[in-house]
Symmetry: D3
Subunit: 61 residues, 6 copies
């Protein structure tokens, strides 16, 4: 019954999320997790809410 939470930058299309969900589900399937047992929650984060190396991603050149 795994639950997967994906934190990423906003901007992915629904089609990309669709592909991602399929690919992640396949990865779990290979270690024996049935697809219907898997929940995936994708989070779209604005770049001004994400910092790397102490700087907001929206400030990075």
């Amino acid at each position: 019954m795994p639950v997967v939470i994906v934190e990423m930058w906003e901007g992915r299309t629904v089609e990309q999320k669709r592909q991602l969900a399929e690919g992640i589900t396949e990865a779990f399937s290979k270690i024996g997790v049935p697809p219907e047992a898997l929940h995936i929650i994708m989070k779209d984060n604005p770049k001004h809410n994400w910092a790397i190396a102490g700087k907001l991603a929206s400030d990075a050149k």
Copy 2:
């Protein structure tokens, strides 16, 4: 000092969230957690950001 994070589909009304917060708080109260020690954070997730069985919930019939 528990913190509860609720991941759900968007669409719940504020009144439903109000009821949910009361009910969860009561559940903790029964095991000895004082209401004022409990934080609950509710997350509204679009259905196209949530996948079950490898399919986006927005694609499910």
Copy 3:
């Protein structure tokens, strides 16, 4: 299909977790979420991994 994550201090008994799971599920049920659609994940955190007001809970008198 909500997912609930509970962050709390370690030390709750399995019986308390059982009661908590029942109570939280009932709270969701009241706003129309069927019990079998609800996943609850409880996390036992050592007090030295939890800080309030800038102090580890294990250091608080």
Copy 4:
């Protein structure tokens, strides 16, 4: 720079986690995320800390 958090029951072997990490990374790679930008954090949860349908997974027959 996605971050993936996997909540699952304890009991997966390191080899299974290795396969899972490869598969998830490949899924992101297909939508254009370079492998080195992806962090995956896997969480092993005891069954008595996970409830479905109001019952601890450790209590389920």
Copy 5:
């Protein structure tokens, strides 16, 4: 490679997030974590999605 997730009420300005990112990064730096290894993800939560003491923060006087 720490990942920090900040759950807070919406309303912080980008400038406040910038300062926060710098300060948190500095705090990690003091215990030996290089800035470029640190990811910080900030979440803006509406007050009607956050409850304390069983009440939505948006309902509190």
Copy 6:
């Protein structure tokens, strides 16, 4: 009432966590968050539960 969740590798000492809690709290204090309103939860993750670039951190040379 922010809540901060820190995901890091296991191995930090309690003294390092103490310093980290102080530093993070100070960073919030500078943007107007009173120390007593801040909860910080630190998570110690085994390296075999953390993957970067598709490889478990425990496998990296």
